[in-house]
């Protein structure tokens, strides 16, 4: 399959179409509303499910296969927030607080983008490493901590300890890490018992989730003017840079075409679950319009539609494929 065909497959996948329907719903001012309880339920489900699957896969993967990709992921979680911060300060002329806040988002990872990438790999019949969900847990946290540390160094004082505790006890990380431990302890046997809930319906549930995200993203787009042109460009170019870096490091670490592609997508993605919560606590002065509009209004749709096929093309090219 060539890249155009893959792009078509991706754009016409149920998940991307649901995202589009969500945008349309907002544009035509529909009274459609996803109940808060459903949104929360879907989030809990997706995070726990990612954790369970990653943990169960890890339980049967020899350590020798995992350590290199894990190291590559750790490297990404240090490099990407620093890179984002530097670009935002130097080129974007953002102040310390807002630059650090945005960097925390772009260093961390979006669980939904991760799922969309693995779903795309399934549709493209490209196998991926089973332990990939574990890498989400590794990538999620450090980047946020690093970005907060930067802001702290420049500002002094305050509740960094509380922010870090908040991140670890925060529901996203708790479910992701807790799910991983559960999956690891119960193993593939245990996972099979609950597969009818946590494995099979996964891609269908994503459709409901993206319907809601489409509505949220469309509302964010209304703030587009206030965030300025630089941030719009940043929200598209930065993922391409971080994504390429991720694919490359993943390939170096010996990951498969599909695995490197998914790692790249993770690096390219910007968090809008764990990061906003942490930033709101540790850097309340930062303007949410900036970080939410960039990550949810620009980068997320870009990755979902164009980014994913692009990172795949890069991965195939790096692996010497067509």
């Amino acid at each position: 399959m060539d890249t155009l065909e893959l792009l078509r497959i991706n754009l016409l996948s149920p998940a991307v179409l649901a995202f589009a329907l969500g945008i349309v719903a907002t544009l035509v001012k529909s009274d459609l509303k996803i109940p808060d309880a459903l949104y929360t339920t879907l989030s809990i489900y997706l995070l726990l499910s990612i954790g369970l699957k990653g943990g169960a896969a890890l339980a049967t993967t020899p350590f020798v296969e995992v350590w290199k990709p894990a190291l590559a992921t750790l490297a990404l979680s240090v490099i990407t927030p620093l890179l984002s911060y530097a670009v935002l300060r130097r080129l974007g002329r953002f102040d310390v607080v807002n630059a650090a806040a945005i960097a925390a988002h772009y260093g961390s990872v979006s669980a939904v983008t991760f799922i969309a990438a693995t779903t795309f790999m399934q549709a493209a019949k490209q196998p991926v490493e089973g332990f990939l969900p574990t890498l989400v847990a590794i990538l999620e946290v450090p980047a946020i901590v690093i970005a907060l540390l930067i802001a702290r160094r420049s500002l002094g004082g305050g509740s960094l300890a509380e922010a870090v505790r908040e991140i670890f006890a925060g529901k996203s990380v708790l479910l992701l890490v807790g799910g991983s431990v559960m999956g690891f302890l119960t193993g593939p046997e245990g996972l099979k018992q609950v597969a009818a809930v946590f494995v099979d319906p996964f891609r269908g549930v994503l459709v409901l989730f993206l319907l809601e995200l489409g509505m949220i993203a469309a509302k964010r787009l209304r703030d587009l003017r206030s965030v300025g042109g630089f941030l719009v460009g940043f929200g598209i170019v930065m993922p391409l840079i971080q994504g390429s870096l991720g694919v490359w490091l993943g390939s170096l670490a010996g990951m498969s075409v599909g695995g490197a592609m998914v790692l790249g997508t993770m690096a390219a993605s910007a968090s809008y679950i764990a990061a906003p919560a942490a930033v709101r606590i540790a850097l309340p002065q930062a303007n949410p319009s900036y970080y939410l509009t960039a990550s949810l209004g620009i980068t997320f749709p870009f990755n979902l539609t164009l980014g994913i096929p692009i990172y795949y093309a890069i991965s195939r090219w790096l692996h010497g494929g067509s």
């Binding site: 996203s172 809601e212 703030d223 679950i273 919560a277 309340p284």
Partner: protein, 100 residues
Amino acid sequence: MALVSLKLVTIIAEGFLEEKLVRDIKRLGAKGYTITDARGEGSRGVRASEWEGSNIRLETIVSPAVAERILNHLAEVYFANYAVIAFVENVEVVRGDKYT
């Protein structure tokens, strides 16, 4: 029925502040509180994120002195950086000693 006059302080705030606010008002002397989930708009547009939930509406019945302490505290700590508003009303309650 002997009714006692007290203050009802209502705080509307971003949902993720719930634990903090509860801790603070208890420390300042509130003996109880009631919370309902809410949504809204004000001068500041944005919230932390959907995943953090929307607004909460926290009510607490307190003595006038505690009410003033709570308002002062909110003004100092929250008003600058968070989406928070607060207002006070007079209410009459049965069993006034329960609240002070």
